[in-house]
């Protein structure tokens, strides 16, 4: 039964209870982290093997075409699956928090920044990975801190370490390093978030 004559203490208790019960189910976000974790890891390892195979066959003129094909196809698949996942999540959604909006904006800006970083690095003829890892690290660490999930914040920090590490690795093994970075930064925290208690 609900009453209307409340003491100030009771009022504060009601406010506190309403706020503490109001939790967004961030386990849903794990699906997106896992999706991109797998897509990008696969793309990195595929890229490593494409380079290895084509270089061994001395088919250097085909490297560009196969590399672009690998990334474009996998990223397109990623976006299609993401659209389906988001549509399913929104169907079951009963409340929209401000925080979710902030995280969405953060990642939209991160994706644009990665795209711009990619264009700049082509123009300057430098490896894009250190900058891309920095942007991914910022996005992942900030998301981890916002949803208060330590493994994701730590995963995000590993991107910063990998960003520095890329400068010490020969270009031949950059894609393997990138795959390892995504496993540490997205896949492991993604699985931990998926299995975390609410």
């Amino acid at each position: 039964m609900y009453k209307n004559d409340l003491t100030p203490e009771e009022s504060f208790k009601i406010i506190g209870k309403a706020i503490s019960n109001f939790k967004t189910n961030y386990k849903e976000s794990a699906k997106i982290f896992l999706l991109w974790g797998w897509i990008l890891t696969l793309a990195c390892f595929a890229q490593f093997f494409i380079l290895k195979i084509l270089q061994s066959k001395e088919a250097y003129e085909q490297i560009g075409l196969f590399s672009i094909g690998n990334w474009v196809v996998l990223i397109l698949i990623g976006f299609i699956i993401q659209t389906l996942i988001v549509r399913k999540i929104n169907k079951q959604k009963k409340m929209y928090s401000y925080l979710e909006g902030y995280i969405k904006s953060l990642w939209m800006i991160a994706v644009v920044s990665i795209f711009v970083a990619f264009i700049i690095s082509i123009k300057l003829e430098i490896a894009p990975l250190p900058i891309i890892f920095l942007i991914a690290g910022m996005g992942t660490t900030t998301t981890g801190l916002l949803i208060r999930f330590k493994p994701l914040a730590i995963g995000g920090l590993t991107f910063f370490i990998f960003s520095i590490a890329t400068t010490f690795v020969s270009s031949e093994y950059l894609n393997l390093l990138a795959g390892a970075a995504i496993i540490c930064g997205h896949l492991i925290p993604g699985y931990l978030l998926k299995s975390a208690k609410e």
């Binding site: 009453k3 504060f12 009601i14 209870k17 169907k91 959604k93 009963k94 929209y96 928090s97």
Partner: protein, 95 residues
């Protein structure tokens, strides 16, 4: 001198509803029902009072052919909630 608490917010169910809305962008009616465990009719009456006072906005749509009611708090509602909490604080630690 104590200020009189806003009677619209000084009610268990209405206060619980407004507290939920203050920290969210939009909330579905069924979520409020799940959280408060109150009867639909009772929640509807309280939301109507809050809506008439201009504290909440009500948006009625359809989801999979079923009616869906989304609620959000207005600026007036946020201000009223802030004032209510500030007035409550004076009751607890009068200075």
């Amino acid at each position: 001198m104590y200020k009189e608490l806003d009677p619209l917010l000084h009610s268990q169910l209405r206060l619980a509803i407004v507290s939920m809305l203050v920290i969210s962008k939009r909330v579905e009616f069924t979520y409020i029902k799940e959280q408060t465990k109150a009867a639909s009719g009772n929640i509807s009456i309280q939301i109507k009072k809050l809506h008439e006072a201009g504290y909440v906005e009500v948006e009625k749509t359809f989801k999979n052919n079923y009616p869906k009611t989304m609620l959000s708090i207005t600026d007036k509602g946020v201000k009223a909630f802030e004032d209510y909490v500030n007035d409550l604080k004076k009751y607890i630690s009068p200075k």
